[in-house]
C-alpha cells in the first residue's frame, strides 16, 4: 500500500508541536487538574494539621475526657463543659484580666508606636540607626524577654527598682513589680509595650510613607497649620494602617502566654492569669482535655467573631 503524503502535512505537524502541552500529552491532565495537583499537598497538609485537629477538638469538647484518668471511660457530656465554663466566675475573671491587658497594652503600643513612626519619618541624619535600635525588642524571643525582665524587676538586685529608687527616693527593695497585686498587671503591660511598640511603629511608618507629598504641599499652599495637617491628612490616611496594627496586636495579645508565664506565672494569686494560661493549665497540667477543648473553642469563636467585625469596620474606613 502506498502512503499518500499530503503536501501540508509537515506544516501541520509544526503547528501541533507549537501547541504541545506535555501534561496533556503525557498524563492526559487538564490545566485545572495540574493546578489541583500542585495545590493538593498544601490542602492535605492544611487538613491534617489544622482542620482535622479542629474537628477533633470540637468532638472532644463534648466529652468528659481527662488524660490523667484515661482508665475512666470517655463519656459524652453534651454542652456540660461549655455551661461549666460560661458559668464559672473564675473564667470570667480571667477573661476580664485578658481584656484589660489587651486594651491597655494595645492602646499604649498604638500611641507610642505612632509617635515613634512620626519621629522616624522625619528622616533625620541617623534615622536608619535609630530605626534599627528601636526594632530590636520585637526581634527577641518572648522567652528571652520574659527572663531578662524578670531579672530587671528583681527587687534587690534589679536595675529597674534601682532606677525607680534613684528617681523617686523609694527604697528599691521595698516594692516588687511582679509580686504586688497593684503593680503586676502594669508590669506585663509595660513589658509587652516595650517589646511590640516597634511593630506598630513599623506599620505606621509604612502608612506615613504612603502619603503623597503633594497633599502636604497643597495644604501648605492653603496655609494649613502643622496641627491641621496632622488631623486632616496624616491621621485619616494612616488610620487603616493603625487599625490593622490594632487588629494584629489585639489578636496576638489575646493569645499571649509565654512572656507573661515567664514574668509572673499568672500571679500574684491569679492577678495576671490571662485566659491562655488558664487554658494551658486546664489542658496540660490538670489534663482536663474535654473541658479545655471547650474553652479553646469558646476563645477561638470569640477572637474569630471579634476579628471579623473589626475587619468589616476596617474596610469601611478604607472606603472613606
Amino acid at each position: 500500500m502506498t502512503a499518500i503524503i499530503h503536501p501540508d502535512a509537515g506544516t501541520d505537524r509544526v503547528g501541533e508541536q507549537a501547541r504541545y502541552n506535555p501534561a496533556r500529552r503525557v498524563r492526559g491532565l487538564s490545566d485545572r487538574s495540574i493546578a489541583w495537583l500542585f495545590v493538593a499537598p498544601t490542602i492535605a497538609l492544611l487538613l491534617a494539621i489544622n482542620i482535622f485537629p479542629l474537628i477533633w477538638m470540637i468532638r472532644l469538647s463534648f466529652t468528659s475526657l481527662n488524660l490523667s484518668m484515661s482508665y475512666l471511660p470517655m463519656r459524652f457530656v453534651g454542652w456540660d463543659n461549655y455551661s461549666d465554663i460560661l458559668t464559672d466566675e473564675d473564667v470570667w475573671a480571667r477573661l476580664q484580666t485578658t481584656a484589660s491587658f489587651v486594651i491597655c497594652s494595645v492602646a499604649l503600643q498604638v500611641v507610642i508606636g505612632f509617635g515613634l513612626a512620626l519621629l522616624i519619618n522625619r528622616q533625620f541624619r541617623t534615622h536608619s540607626f535609630w530605626t534599627t535600635i528601636i526594632l530590636l525588642p520585637m526581634m527577641l524571643s518572648p522567652a528571652v524577654v520574659g527572663n531578662f525582665w524578670t531579672l530587671l524587676f528583681q527587687p534587690q538586685i534589679g536595675p529597674f527598682n534601682y532606677v525607680v529608687g534613684l528617681l523617686t527616693g523609694i527604697p528599691p527593695s521595698s516594692f516588687s513589680m511582679t509580686g504586688e497585686v497593684a503593680l503586676a498587671p502594669w508590669t506585663i503591660v509595660l513589658v509587652d509595650t516595650w517589646m511590640w511598640s516597634p511593630y506598630v511603629m513599623l506599620i505606621c511608618l509604612a502608612g506615613l510613607r504612603s502619603i503623597p507629598d503633594y497633599i502636604y504641599e497643597a495644604a501648605e499652599v492653603d496655609r494649613a497649620s502643622s496641627l491641621r495637617q496632622f488631623w486632616s491628612i496624616t491621621l485619616p490616611m494612616v488610620m487603616p494602617f493603625l487599625m490593622l496594627a490594632v487588629l494584629f496586636r489585639a489578636i496576638e495579645n489575646f493569645k499571649m502566654f509565654d512572656m507573661v508565664n515567664l514574668l509572673t506565672s499568672g500571679g500574684p494569686g491569679s492577678t495576671t492569669e490571662l485566659v491562655s494560661i488558664t487554658l494551658k493549665r486546664a489542658a496540660f497540667e490538670k489534663w482536663r482535655t474535654g473541658y479545655s477543648s471547650a474553652l479553646a473553642i469558646i476563645l477561638f469563636v470569640t477572637v474569630f467573631g471579634a476579628a471579623n467585625i473589626y475587619v468589616k469596620v476596617l474596610n469601611r474606613v478604607k472606603q472613606r
Partner: protein, 456 residues
C-alpha cells in the same frame, strides 16, 4: 576556555555518590555494633541528687555493661514534661523516678510496671525500707501490698539556719533580753516566727538580712509544699480519717484556717521582699547570698548547702520542721524508681532496680549525696553521725505526711496552689474563704473521678 558542563556535573555526581556510599558503609559497620550495646534511659528532675545518681550509675555500667543515659528536667517543668511523656505512652524513659503523688495515676493508668512479682522473685522486701517511703512512693492503693516503685530518694521538708549568726554573743544577749529565752533553733512555729521577726531587717556585717525563707511559688507545687508544713501542725486534715473524701470540716476546719493565717503572717512579717513566686532554687539563692537567717527547703539540698564555701560548714545548722499547736509533722518529698510500662528494655530496667536495692549500693548512694530509704543504711549505728543533717532527716522521716496521691492529684494540687496563693500572696479574701473554695474545688474533682463525697 569554557569547561564542559557535563564534565563538572559528572564530577559532582561522582563525589556525591562516593560520599553517600561512604556514609552507608560506615552506618552498616557501626549500626549493628550500636544495636548490640545495651542502654537504659533514666528520667528524673535536674537537681543535686541527680548528679550523685549519675556518679552511682557508673558502677552499674561497669558491672553489667549497660550504658546509662539520663533525662533530667528542671523541677518547674518536671511534672509537665514526664506526665506528658507517660500519658502519650512515649518510649523516652525506661526507668523513671516519679514524684510520690504520681503513684495513683501511674498505677491506675498502667504507666508503671507492677513490681510485686519481681520483688518476690528477687527477694526484695518492702519491710527493709522506711515505712513512710514505702507508703509514700510505692503503694497504690495506699496501705495495700501493691508496689509500683522501689523507694529511691527519701526526702522531706526541713530547715537550715545561720548557726554563726545564732551563736554571736551580742545577738544572743539581745534576743534573750527581748524574749526571755536563749536564741536556739525553734521547736515550735511560734518560736520560729519570733526568731524570724527578730532577724527581719537587722543589719549583720553591714548587710540587711531577713527572717525566714518560705515557699511561695505559684506555677507548679511550691506554695502548697510550703503551707502544708504549717497546716498539718495546726490541725489540717485532707479528709475525715473515718470517712474517705469527706473534706468539709477537715480541710476548712477552724484549726486549718488558723494555720493558713499563720503562714500568711509569716510571709508578711518575715520574708525578703520580692519572693512572691519562689521555690527551691530561690531559697538556696537567698540562703547562699546571706539574705536570710532561716530557710525552708528539702533535705535533698542540704549536702550541697553544707559544702557551700560561704554559708556551709560551721556557719550552717539544720532543724526539723517546727511543731504547731495540734501536732508535729512535715511535708514528705522524695520519689520512688519505677519501670515504665512502655519501655522496650524492661528486663534491663528491672536489673537496674535489683542492683540499686542492694545495701552496698544504697550505702554509697547516701555517701555521695542521695538519701537512701533502706533501713540497713539509715538505722545503722553510725548513720546519725555520718552527716550534720542526718539526725534531723531521720526525725523528719518519722513524722511525714504527703499530699493527695490520687490519679487526679494534678487538679487537686493546682486548685490548692490557686486558692492558697490568692490568699497568702495576693491578699484575696480570707483564709476561711480560701479553704471553703478549696473544699468546693476538690469535691468537684473527686466527683468527676467517680468518688462519693460526703458533705458531713
Amino acid at each position: 576556555m569554557r569547561k564542559s558542563t557535563t564534565g563538572i556535573w559528572s564530577k559532582w555526581a561522582g563525589g556525591a555518590l562516593a560520599l553517600f556510599s561512604g556514609i552507608a558503609l560506615a552506618a552498616s559497620i557501626t549500626g549493628p555494633a550500636a544495636a548490640q550495646s545495651k542502654q537504659l534511659t533514666l528520667c528524673w528532675a535536674a537537681w543535686d541528687p541527680a548528679n550523685a545518681l549519675v556518679e552511682l550509675g557508673k558502677d552499674f555500667t561497669q558491672e553489667t555493661g549497660i550504658e546509662m543515659k539520663y533525662e533530667f528536667v528542671p523541677w518547674t517543668s518536671y511534672a509537665d514534661r514526664f506526665l506528658n511523656e507517660l500519658n502519650s505512652h512515649g518510649k523516652l524513659c525506661d526507668l523513671i523516678i516519679g514524684d510520690s503523688q504520681w503513684i495513683g495515676g501511674a498505677a491506675e493508668n498502667h504507666w508503671y510496671v507492677k513490681l510485686n512479682d519481681f520483688f518476690a522473685k528477687e527477694h526484695i522486701t518492702m519491710d527493709d525500707f522506711v515505712p513512710a517511703t514505702v507508703l509514700g512512693y510505692s503503694e497504690w492503693p495506699k496501705n495495700t501490698p501493691n508496689y509500683w516503685a522501689l523507694p529511691a530518694m527519701a526526702d522531706a521538708v526541713g530547715w537550715t539556719y545561720r548557726k554563726d549568726w545564732f551563736s554571736r554573743p551580742e545577738i544572743q544577749a539581745e534576743f534573750k533580753k527581748k524574749y526571755g529565752r536563749d536564741l536556739a533553733p525553734p521547736k515550735t512555729y511560734d518560736e520560729l516566727k519570733q526568731i524570724a521577726e527578730f532577724f527581719q531587717g537587722r543589719e549583720i556585717d553591714g548587710k540587711k538580712v531577713y527572717g525566714a525563707y518560705i515557699f511561695t511559688e505559684r506555677g507548679s507545687e511550691g506554695i502548697t509544699m510550703g503551707v502544708t508544713n504549717v497546716l498539718y501542725n495546726f490541725g489540717f486534715e485532707y479528709d475525715n480519717p473515718k470517712k474517705p473524701y469527706q473534706m468539709q470540716g477537715f480541710v476548712n476546719s477552724p484549726d486549718a484556717v488558723k494555720g493558713l493565717e499563720f503562714y500568711k503572717e509569716l510571709y508578711k512579717c518575715c520574708t525578703a521582699p520580692g519572693l512572691t513566686n519562689a521555690y527551691m532554687q530561690e531559697g538556696l539563692d537567698a540562703f547562699k547570698s546571706g539574705q536570710v537567717a532561716m530557710q525552708m527547703n528539702w533535705f535533698a539540698f542540704f549536702p550541697g548547702l553544707y559544702k557551700d564555701p560561704n554559708v556551709g560548714g560551721d556557719k550552717i545548722g539544720f532543724f526539723v520542721n517546727p511543731a504547731g499547736p495540734k501536732g508535729h509533722f512535715t511535708q514528705l518529698g522524695g520519689q520512688g524508681i519505677s519501670v515504665v510500662a512502655t519501655s522496650d528494655h524492661q528486663d534491663d530496667a528491672l536489673r537496674y532496680i535489683k542492683w540499686f536495692a542492694q545495701p552496698a549500693v544504697q550505702q554509697k548512694w547516701w555517701e555521695i549525696g542521695g538519701y537512701s530509704a533502706l533501713k540497713a543504711v539509715v538505722d545503722a549505728p553510725g548513720f546519725k553521725k555520718s552527716a550534720p543533717f542526718a539526725p534531723q532527716f531521720l526525725e523528719s522521716m518519722a513524722i511525714v505526711k504527703d499530699f493527695w496521691a490520687e490519679p487526679s492529684y494534678a487538679q487537686l494540687l493546682l486548685d490548692m496552689q490557686k486558692r492558697v496563693h490568692d490568699y497568702v500572696v495576693a491578699d484575696k479574701g480570707t483564709a476561711q474563704q480560701a479553704l471553703d473554695l478549696l473544699v468546693k474545688d476538690w469535691t468537684k474533682v473527686f466527683k468527676e473521678q467517680g468518688k462519693t463525697v460526703a458533705s458531713q
